[in-house]
């Protein structure tokens, strides 16, 4: 589904990723590693926000650096800072913004917006100003704006970094219920402990590709050494 073939990425003459070879499939894939290890860059390559310096990335049979538009229709991205993802002034309008290129009638669009709001538990905030929501609610809104487009793959870059424990749980509950592939980088090791597939990234290389529990052990050993 997602394949990295001999991928290297250099930014400002600094190597960010080196010799990345991996096939990512399955419902949940975690990525852990220290700050600056290359987690975000790995995710950005998947939906074409970054292009490999050498090698190639293949997502659902497409190359994001060549077919960015087609890839982004199927692959969505949830960033850590929800404020940067919200475009429209009110909650429902922001979700509807994601559907602007879907040929839907007004009632169809409203129905899908309401379904997405219900899915993330923000129904009562339908007409509220987006900037007045709490950080957790903003992240749920960002998630609703993604869910409404029904992507096949969701990339999450440290989606709970700015959230407290309660909001983290709410975001993760919504993510867990999604019947799609979720690739998530995180510093919250508890979130990926039970996942079957977790990559450990260090110095721009994948140094482990294993289960959540083993990945955490590898990462902690790395941090302590």
């Amino acid at each position: 589904m997602i394949e990295f073939r001999d991928v290297c990425l250099t930014l400002n003459e600094r190597p960010v990723l080196s010799d990345i070879n991996a096939e990512l499939a399955g419902p949940r894939v975690g990525i852990i590693g220290a700050n600056g290890s290359g987690k975000t860059s790995l995710l950005r390559l998947i939906n074409g926000l970054a292009s490999p310096t050498s090698g190639s990335v293949h997502v659902l049979g497409l190359q994001p650096d060549r077919n960015g538009r087609a890839v982004r229709k199927k692959v969505s991205f949830l960033f850590s800072n929800p404020d940067a993802q919200i475009v429209m002034p009110t909650v429902a309008e922001d979700i509807a913004f994601s559907l602007r290129r879907h040929s839907l009638s007004d009632p169809e669009r409203d129905l899908r917006v309401n379904q997405a709001l219900h899915q993330v538990g923000l129904t009562e905030h339908h007409d509220h100003p987006a900037h007045a929501l709490s950080s957790g609610q903003k992240q749920l809104l960002a998630l609703a704006s993604i869910i409404v487009t029904e992507p096949q793959i969701l990339l999450c870059d440290e989606p709970t970094t700015l959230l407290d424990r309660r909001n983290t749980r709410e975001v993760i509950n919504v993510l867990n219920d999604l019947p799609i592939t979720v690739v998530m980088s995180t510093h919250d090791l508890d979130l990926i402990r039970d996942w079957d597939r977790v990559l450990v990234v260090d110095g721009g290389r994948i140094i482990a590709d294993t289960t959540g529990i083993e990945a955490i052990a590898t990462y902690l050993k790395l941090v302590d050494s």
């Binding site: 939906n47 800072n81 404020d83 475009v87 009110t90 309008e93 100003p129």
Partner: protein, 198 residues
């Protein structure tokens, strides 16, 4: 002042945004051309009735005018000194009523509906190469970033105070610019990820 839609089901909420913009244009043109105290009194009554029918709380209505308070005071004093109290009231009254009318439109119209109308109105500009969708997006983002930049300014001011640098302009301007540029960068990434520009 802008971008704060107040949900409702009044006739003004349901009226097409294009019609509301035409009414706004007629209203402001009338009070400018036929400027006199009786006309302004009638216009003020009309605005009061429209706010009441749209069920906009009085506190919220007055909030729309608050940003004007210093301009109104200065303008009033200057025009009074220059042209006398009657002309001063006419000029300031015209300004206040025009802003109140414009605010009523934004309070009763969602940004989406307003932008869709603007896009339709700008359609002829497509023939001279204007990307209407991008123009509409720029307008939307202008509304959207106001509270974000206000948050940035607030947190930088707090940080400056915490470090005892209240009077240091550089300690204010530099982080505000850096954080605003950083926000723009993140927003750009998010827009690309949401398919804008594809």
């Amino acid at each position: 002042m802008i971008g704060i839609y107040y949900p409702g089901t009044s006739w003004l909420h349901r009226a097409p945004p294009g019609l509301k913009l035409v009414m706004l244009l007629l209203f402001t043109t009338t009070i400018v051309i036929f400027r006199s105290l009786p006309v302004l009194a009638g216009a003020a009554l009309l605005i009061f009735i429209a706010y009441t029918l749209a069920r906009i709380p009085m506190g919220l209505a007055l909030t729309q005018l608050r940003p004007l308070r210093w301009i109104v005071l200065l303008l009033m004093a200057f025009q009074w000194w220059l042209l006398g109290w009657e002309r001063a009231i006419e000029i300031v009254g015209t300004l206040v009523l025009a802003v109140a009318a414009a605010a009523l439109i934004t309070l009763t119209t969602t940004t989406t509906a307003m932008l869709a109308t603007l896009e339709r109105m700008l359609t002829p500009a497509r023939f001279i190469g204007v990307d209407i969708e991008k123009v509409a997006l720029v307008l939307t983002l202008t509304i959207r970033v106001v509270p974000v930049i206000a948050d940035i300014v607030g947190s930088v001011r707090d940080a400056r105070r915490a470090r005892g640098l209240e009077r240091n302009a550089r300690a204010f301007v530099t982080p505000v610019v850096i954080r605003t540029v950083g926000y723009s960068h993140d927003l750009g990434d998010a827009l690309i990820a949401r398919g804008v520009g594809d």
